[in-house]
């Protein structure tokens, strides 16, 4: 059976990601595994954000708050597990199966609150309000003096999973890859389900959808929460990857970065943002090696992407929307 371009691209991408640890071990570059791992983690956040921007036309400029919160739940629990005094009478736990769901639940709760308020508006207000709430989360994290304030928190060690040992870089890498694949497959089921079609109908014409008897708010809120949980998962993985969380994880610039990645990759394609992440992170890495003032190049690149990159690098391959 001949492969379509899309299938070929997926197979190629997956093969590349699978091969990275082998390449790194073969001595190509020890930093390669770390770089690829960062790409995987950011890609989970990018796919999640594409779910609401690309399919739901909800331009969230505050998704870093879920990234930061997910990371901080892991960090705070670890702080109380190793060394710190017990929190609310509990001494903490290092079991990933306990801590990670807790972090994701916290993100879902925050998303219900923020989404519930922000979805009362739309368009430019939605952008500003999500940004403002993310900034609030940022300031709250900065003010947590007992958890390091500005400087953030170091994690003693990674969380423990049964059967596999994620303190080994390669194992952790494959875990991230598996989670990215599972999450992307899940998201593509979601966007092709009845729920996803309603979400897209609301994007194309809210009035028409409403006249067909759809109440927009619950669908949008559900999508917002799903997206927040995905971004929170990325935050959880980041905390485990870097063993370090800082308030910068929730900074407005991080939200902007996520958004840029999604647009660069191609809105409404789910797979495009993964390619977008790879290009963006690699570009960032190359430029920062080249010059200390890499922002002066990266900034105009973002501007050019916005001005000319309507469908993103992968929009053609993965068949994104054309509006």
């Amino acid at each position: 059976m001949p492969l379509t371009l899309r299938q070929a691209a997926i197979a190629l991408g997956l093969a590349l990601f699978l091969a990275v640890p082998l390449l790194a071990e073969a001595g190509a570059s020890p930093a390669l595994l770390g770089l690829a791992n960062r790409i995987l983690i950011y890609a989970i956040a990018a796919v999640s954000l594409d779910l609401i921007i690309g399919y739901g036309a909800m331009v969230s400029f505050g998704h870093a708050m879920f990234f930061g919160l997910g990371g901080y739940v892991v960090g705070i629990v670890a702080y109380h597990t190793f060394g710190g005094e017990p929190l609310l009478g509990r001494s903490g736990s290092n079991a990933a199966l306990l801590v990670w769901p807790l972090a994701l639940a916290a993100c879902a709760l925050l998303a219900v609150l923020v989404g519930g308020l922000a979805l009362r508006t739309s368009g430019v207000q939605f952008i500003m309000i999500t940004l403002a709430f993310a900034q609030m989360v940022f300031f709250v994290l900065v003010s947590l003096q007992s958890y390091g304030g500005d400087d953030g928190l170091m994690l003693e060690r990674r969380n423990m999973l049964p059967f596999i040992d994620i303190s080994k870089p390669t194992t952790f890498y494959y875990l991230c890859l598996a989670l990215l694949v599972i999450w992307t497959v899940l998201c593509s089921f979601i966007v092709n389900s009845r729920f996803g079609l309603i979400l897209q109908a609301l994007r194309q014409s809210e009035r028409r959808a409403v006249n067909l008897g759809i109440r927009p708010f619950p669908f949008r809120l559900a999508a917002f929460v799903i997206s927040a949980v995905g971004t929170g998962l990325a935050g959880v993985l980041w905390a485990n990857y870097a063993r370090f969380v800082t308030p910068d994880m929730a900074a407005w610039s991080k939200s902007g970065e996520f958004m840029a990645i999604v647009v660069l990759g191609g809105l409404g394609t789910l797979l495009g943002p993964i390619a977008g992440t790879a290009v963006f992170i690699a570009l960032e890495q190359l430029l920062s090696i080249w010059t200390e003032h890499w922002m002066i190049v990266m900034g105009p690149i973002l501007t050019l992407i916005a001005l000319f990159g309507q469908r993103g690098i992968a929009g053609r391959v993965f068949g994104g929307r054309r509006d």
């Binding site: 921007i53 331009v59 400029f61 308020l117 009362r120 508006t121 368009g123 430019v124 207000q125 952008i127 500003m128 309000i129 940004l131 403002a132 709430f133 900034q135 609030m136 300031f139 709250v140 900065v142 003010s143 947590l144 003096q145 007992s146 407005w252 610039s253 902007g256 958004m259 840029a260 647009v263 809105l267 003032h293 922002m295 002066i296 990266m298 900034g299 105009p300 690149i301 973002l302 501007t303 050019l304 992407i305 916005a306 001005l307």
Partner: protein, 304 residues
């Protein structure tokens, strides 16, 4: 009582600064439909230009002129180079394009003016304090800030509601095609409004320079607060920006003064300090959430 009045004046001063920034931003959005993240950069450029010229010449007036000119010209340059291509695009692309400009501006400013934050003294004629009430001395520069805010509000009201340019601007916001059909160069008008927004940012920058730290990133911090102001007041409305700026200014300065005190009454000091610091920075966002619950479009939306 003295503390309360002092905090109210502080709130008024902060509100005046927020209004200078928010009025330009909300005009730009209301008229051209562009969400412009570089607005905070204009403020930073203004402050840096002022500090640089004051350091070179020693004259505050020259510094102020440099701030207005620098911020205004940079705004015009940004409009001509980037923003004019974004008027009909989705907000997402406007955010992304202007975000790129923020990164560029921050790096360029630190390359041009150096990494070390410049200092700017309060000019001699604005130094010292005057008695406002028996027992309350208040710094002259902050009073001047409040006065300048009032002047800007009055000036904008006259400009928008009682001048030919203002009439064209309002007409252009309602129906762009019709205004062009009547022989008005709407492109020039947009550039002009953008430049005006930049000049107001420069004004805020030069007034704030002696009071706040001049540093890279000062623009974004105040930009996000400006967004809160605009959302509270109603996007696109200058009156809304005024009300929002005053509300945010008051809540912020009263929160700073009273939230820690109130918490200390009921909680142990260590908890109260941590919680207080968090609550103080969160207070304006809580205000925004409350306003949104009651009026999703803001207090004084531009159009219903």
């Amino acid at each position: 009582m003295i503390l309360l009045i002092e905090q109210l004046l502080n709130g008024l001063q902060y509100g005046a600064m927020l209004f200078m920034l928010a009025s330009g931003l909300t005009l730009i959005f209301g008229i051209m439909g562009v969400i412009n993240l570089t607005h905070g950069c204009f403020y930073m450029v203004g402050a840096y230009c002022a500090a640089f010229v004051v350091l070179q010449t020693g004259s505050f007036l020259l510094g102020a002129l440099a701030a207005l000119a620098g911020a205004g010209l940079y705004a015009v340059a940004v409009e001509l180079a980037v923003v004019q291509w974004l008027y009909r695009r989705d907000h997402l692309y406007q955010v992304l394009a202007t975000l790129g400009l923020i990164l560029f501006t921050n790096e360029a400013v630190s390359l041009i003016f150096g990494r070390r934050p410049p200092l700017m003294d309060i000019p001699p004629f604005l130094q010292g304090s005057v008695p406002v009430l028996p027992g309350l001395e208040y710094p002259v520069i902050r009073l001047a800030f409040i006065g300048m805010g009032a002047l800007v509000a009055l000036g904008l009201w006259l400009l928008v509601n009682h001048s030919r340019v203002g009439m064209l601007v309002r007409a252009g916001a309602d129906d762009r095609e019709m205004v062009s059909a009547l022989g008005i160069d709407i492109r020039r008008l947009y550039t002009l409004v953008f430049g005006l927004g930049g000049v107001l940012c420069g004004l805020a920058g030069v007034m704030a320079a002696p009071l706040l730290a001049i540093e890279i990133g000062m623009g974004e911090r105040v930009l996000i607060t400006t967004f809160v102001v605009i959302v509270i007041g109603g996007v696109g409305s200058v009156r809304g920006a005024l009300v929002g700026a005053l509300l945010v200014g008051m809540v912020d300065s009263l929160g700073r003064a009273y939230i820690p005190q109130l918490l200390q009454l009921s909680l142990p000091p260590s908890v109260a300090d941590t919680l207080g610091a968090g609550l103080v920075s969160a207070s304006i966002y809580v205000l925004m959430a409350l306003v949104l619950l009651v009026r999703p479009l803001g207090l004084l939306p531009a159009r219903s």
